[in-house]
């Protein structure tokens, strides 16, 4: 019996090891192809680079010099970090306010936030890009406001869920001692909210970093491109499509995400689980 159990365990580990290899294989294949010259990519996708097809980091050079990949990476990082920071600060404040002040108005705000979470983006994409254009929000600075508006639903919803669970007495004591509401919020409430800050931050960051359609429609894409836009742009450009450079871009887009994931895995998994349960 014990032997059998042990055997089963080894078999299970073996099985999942194989599945894991299949799981990461697509990315590995892209990596291999990113080092081949472009003419070989479609013909010999699954072969390792040979002496003939190997070009080293040539494709990466093209991606960076011709397609400005690093600039796109920079803008994506800029938009993501700034938007997430703004969302966290503004939405946590709103969530605290609408939980502590009870009236019809705050109730409506809450319901609107929940409602906005289920709306598909296509419903508002045309009018949103028009509004953003007329308000000159088509820059990486301006788009932050659009992201705050569109990301507020989830953030306010999750923060509200948390604020409801913390006792009001602590805040009352702080205010009794002469703290203003602002100081109470930042010095008493925010420290308690730290886990929710991390969860919401990760969920919003994952969304904004990977988002394609919203920045594509809102940003002035002649000047500002994000990673997804650059890749779609390269692939969509008529005439010659440089498969080599695309492979390099894909790898350079995946690496930061994987590194971030491996460093912050604990928080990401927790954040995702929390977000799913609340959603």
């Amino acid at each position: 019996m014990k032997m059998k159990k042990k055997m089963m365990g080894i078999l299970a580990t073996l099985f999942f090891t194989l599945v894991s290899i299949v799981f990461v294989a697509p990315i590995f294949i892209v990596l291999i192809n990113s080092m081949k010259s472009k003419t070989f990519i479609n013909l010999e996708t699954f072969k390792l680079p040979t002496e003939e097809s190997y070009v080293g980091l040539e494709n990466y050079k093209t991606a960076i010099t011709q397609y400005d990949f690093l600039k796109a990476l920079g803008w994506t990082l800029f938009i993501t970090v700034l938007s997430v920071a703004v969302i966290l600060i503004c939405c946590s404040m709103t969530a605290w306010f609408i939980t502590r002040v009870k009236n019809v108005f705050t109730k409506i705000i809450y319901l609107l936030c929940v409602f906005s979470m289920v709306i598909p983006f296509q419903m508002v994409m045309f009018t949103l890009s028009g509004t953003a254009d007329s308000l000159h929000l088509n820059t990486p600075w301006g788009i932050v406001i659009v992201y705050l508006g569109f990301g507020a639903g989830l953030a306010v919803f999750m923060f509200t869920g948390f604020v409801k669970s913390i006792p009001i007495e602590v805040e009352e004591a702080a205010m009794m001692d002469g703290c203003s509401p602002l100081r109470t919020f930042f010095c008493v409430v925010v420290p308690m909210m730290k886990p929710t800050f991390i969860s919401v931050g990760i969920l919003e960051a994952m969304w904004i970093w990977n988002d394609f359609l919203l920045p594509y429609l809102v940003l002035d894409i002649k000047e500002f491109k994000t990673i997804s836009i650059v890749i779609q742009y390269m692939k969509g450009s008529y005439g010659r499509v440089d498969m080599g450079a695309i492979m390099a871009c894909l790898i350079m887009a995946i690496i930061p995400v994987v590194v971030f994931y491996l460093c912050a895995q604990k928080y990401i998994v927790k954040g995702v689980a929390a977000g799913a349960v609340k959603g």
Partner: protein
């Protein structure tokens, strides 16, 4: 305390609400209004009644995309949830290296839809080129290609939710059942699954709405080809808007229909599965 806090509403509410107004409420209301108009930009809108809706439902590509999306949603719903549940069951047992496996399975979820689409396009076309075909030439291949891509992306996510659910089931219920002589299968169907209903609700809800809202992956992997046959709902709407001038109103009408369907499915699904949840 409430009174003191209330006075601070300009600081606490205004920034978020101003952005919410610009980013969501105004575009949403404008969108509903424009679905009854003919326009090319927001300013030259002319009221035309339900004309746009009539045209939308006459569009065979739109109906086709609805069927394609529904079929896709059903297939991916079953596939993703069954696999994710089984993996979650296995990876909560005592298996060596289970944390590494969890890490690997979850990883694709963090990569963006456009990037994933092109990663898989390379793989599929690399295979199909040997059979003298391509993903963009065959509707069936396109469908299963999308299913595989989305499965690969979402199984890990659902697995995490299921693992969280499994770990929340109190161990003594399982133990009690074991002492009463319930076998493995009985325990799975009579204890584990009923207790997992909240997680199952969440995951089925997420997979269905994700399927209906799918856009980036569809755009990158097949682009709707061949001949709009693999076009899903969201992509069809996008193509109506930006494909040809003059059809913006029809696009907006389609978007409203899309919105109603997504909300409707969400509500229906929540109601159906919530009834099956057991109270602890």
């Amino acid at each position: 305390m409430e009174k003191a806090v209330k006075k601070y509403w300009p600081i606490f509410l205004v920034p978020t609400m101003a952005a919410f107004l610009i980013g969501f409420i105004i575009p949403f209301i404008e969108g509903i209004y424009l679905s009854f108009c003919k326009f090319t930009t927001i300013k030259d809108a002319k009221f035309v009644g339900i004309q746009n809706y009539i045209e939308a439902f006459k569009d065979s590509n739109f109906i086709g995309s609805f069927k394609f999306t529904t079929l896709f949603a059903i297939v991916s719903l079953v596939l993703i949830n069954v696999l994710a549940f089984l993996i979650a069951l296995a990876l909560t047992q005592n298996i060596k290296g289970k944390n590494i496996f969890r890490t690997v399975f979850f990883m694709p979820n963090l990569i963006g839809g456009i990037v994933l689409g092109y990663v898989w396009q390379l793989i599929f076309d690399g295979i199909f080129v040997k059979f003298d075909t391509a993903l963009k030439l065959n509707e069936t291949l396109g469908f299963w290609g999308l299913v595989i891509l989305v499965g690969w992306q979402q199984i890990g996510y659902m697995m995490i939710v299921y693992i969280a659910g499994l770990q929340a089931i109190p161990g003594d219920i399982q133990e009690a059942a074991m002492i009463d002589g319930a076998n493995r299968m009985q325990r799975l169907f009579k204890i584990t699954i009923p207790n997992m209903m909240p997680s199952i609700t969440i995951c089925t809800f997420l997979t269905i709405t994700n399927s209906f809202k799918l856009f980036d992956q569809n755009l990158a992997l097949t682009g709707g080809e061949p001949l709009h046959k693999t076009e899903m709902f969201a992509l069809n709407i996008y193509n109506t808007f930006y494909g040809r001038v003059g059809a913006e109103g029809v696009g907006q009408a389609k978007a409203v229909v899309f919105f109603i369907i997504v909300v409707g499915i969400g509500l229906l699904q929540l109601k159906l599965t919530r009834d099956k949840e057991v109270q602890q």
